[in-house]
Symmetry: C2
Subunit: 419 residues, 2 copies
Amino acid sequence: MSGSNIFYAQSGGVTAVINASACGVIETARKIPTMGKVFVGKNGILGALTERLIDTSKESRRDISMLKHTPGGAFGSCRYKLKAPETNQREYERLLAVFKAHNIGYFFYNGGGDSQDTANKVAIFSQRAGYPVQCIGIPKTVDNDLPLTDTCPGFGSVAKYVAVATEEAGLDIASMAATSTKVFVLEVMGRHAGWIAAASALAQKTKGDPPHIIVFPEIVFDRAKFIAQVKKAVRSKGYCVVVASEGAQWPDGRFLAEADQKDAFGHAQLGGVAPRLVDMIKQDLGLKCHWAVSDYLQRAARHIASAVDVAQAYAVGEAAVKFAAAGDSGVMTTIERYSVKPYRWRIGKVALAKVANVEKKMPRRFISRSGFGVTAAALEYLRPLIQGEDYPPFKAGMPQYVRLKNLLIEPRLPAFEPE
Amino acid sequence: MSGSNIFYAQSGGVTAVINASACGVIETARKIPTMGKVFVGKNGILGALTERLIDTSKESRRDISMLKHTPGGAFGSCRYKLKAPETNQREYERLLAVFKAHNIGYFFYNGGGDSQDTANKVAIFSQRAGYPVQCIGIPKTVDNDLPLTDTCPGFGSVAKYVAVATEEAGLDIASMAATSTKVFVLEVMGRHAGWIAAASALAQKTKGDPPHIIVFPEIVFDRAKFIAQVKKAVRSKGYCVVVASEGAQWPDGRFLAEADQKDAFGHAQLGGVAPRLVDMIKQDLGLKCHWAVSDYLQRAARHIASAVDVAQAYAVGEAAVKFAAAGDSGVMTTIERYSVKPYRWRIGKVALAKVANVEKKMPRRFISRSGFGVTAAALEYLRPLIQGEDYPPFKAGMPQYVRLKNLLIEPRLPAFEPE
């Protein structure tokens, strides 16, 4: 579809580097004469449904290049999952109507498993509807739970943040433990997969270094065993650093953090594993504890992003455009590790149908026998992903993050109300 | 006391730059021929009482220089306050006995208000006892609550961390607010003074930028007013970022975060303002919220330290040695701001007696009329303190923080049990 415009959208929870993928898409498309403009959905796919399309051709080259070091989602993201076309034909038809109205021939969807599923459905639907749109998925998720890619852009930077935070807080508590705090609990993201918690082990330079305990969602939580581990660490080291995944679960599948509140979708709202664990430690051992919940700070921490992660985030966006220009559709760009030592990666691709709705958890062989640590194999996998620093430029003491103009193009269709 | 040795100790909560002060002390003393060795208390002043003295002459020049970029307290710190000599003569006599046994003529105490008070008492006691020790206080506290110094080393780096975290998390929630989280609450340190929370305002580049609400310990908390502010921000911006001081208080003086638990000293253990505020927002407005508690991460975050703070931390240590060499005693080194625009600072000194037990809170003129923000005067004061980056060296993706050998010298006295 020579000369067609591109529609790009960010989906789901944002990361420190999702804008680097956007930068890769926009900069690459600008260099290819057969590619039209890059339109971006205001607040993700909702922007396509409501015909609120940001015209990136109005943004300066400099501002677009600054996306590479700006965290968050510069165009707005959304938590909105298109249902299957069978039950929701109206929204798919609307998408195609908007794409047609703006001569859009390419759909790049930057997100996690749900988004890859949507991209696949749009590809199939548009084909059947006689207006084939080339759909390419661009991986993104701090949870690192997409299959068939070595890693997911966004994860490496959270991994680095968590490893650095664990080392730094570990030095702090080690200084205080003689007369004050004995246990520090850091809560990190990861609702179903423990990759982020696992990355804290990269802080260990010598045996016995923090973290002393990692609580994974993959391992059923056992209070007695956990308390015994805390006791052991405090006895041998004088203090204990715990890194706990927000998705830590009781044997019956309830989250440790589960409160009475549920979110709008009826999901239990997480965030609160750390104080819960601290309560147990105080009750059972009477030790003084401190705790931190890093929440958005971890996934927004562009200031301590991994250079490898930034490069990969850019590359999966860049490759999406190149694959599309070469005629591809129905694929997600991937990262392939083709050499372990030294670490070498390249871009690959995989059929969207194979990615959709598959969740890659930590394999058991990456978790130590006790269930509270990681193995050498896990460290070998994780370490390359946090390599290199890629500091944003600073001015007057603060990082220089770009705020785009985000000008919308004139709508051409009647208004539309999403479900 | 030519040729006398130095005793240096770290006290209270550690910071990202307290080791830079230690570095300043040790490197400067090594250059002055009339100064003896620098001994450091293992776990602060407890190391002096128990005669556990670390011999820094056993550390390499390189390792000592690495202290400048290593967070935490490299020799161990402690929460231990010497009572007044009138009620506690035994401990003061022991201190002098240890000082005599190891030819210690200088006492450098690196800490907050309590430590300056102790340094002053030791100066007076040693004088009266006929073994005058030159006592110099070196300021340190993330809380920024010491009087008679423009700022306290440790604060500038926490301020920078909190400002950067607020900007980054603000970009994150701004991306998500259309369909997901509407309110983000970041809890920061500051039990009695709101300096750290105030620093989050440095994230504001244009009017309306996060943080939209700052909760100070200096301003009595009013739930209705707070909720109204949240509502207003969400209505006008689509989302709301709140930065709350752990010391936020109800009209009756209770901490918002006060749980049933008390710490070993009967103090209410804090940490939990953020979830408390989130509960209120959910109850009153039914909005989806996220929250973070930065706890130790903020004061250990050497990776995003302020270059000005690092330089000042080093300088107050360096100056302590120079003042001592020139015969001073009973003083604390201070930072003097002698030019506002451009910002210029130099080292000064002040009598310990004037510093001891005075707490510098945020002046009311630094807090906006609403009580939920800061004034231009506050920003003018704060902004210079976060200037410049001073990244630690990284290797294999992680910061290179030093672990000293910390070899103890042979005790010469009988064992001693502190109170």
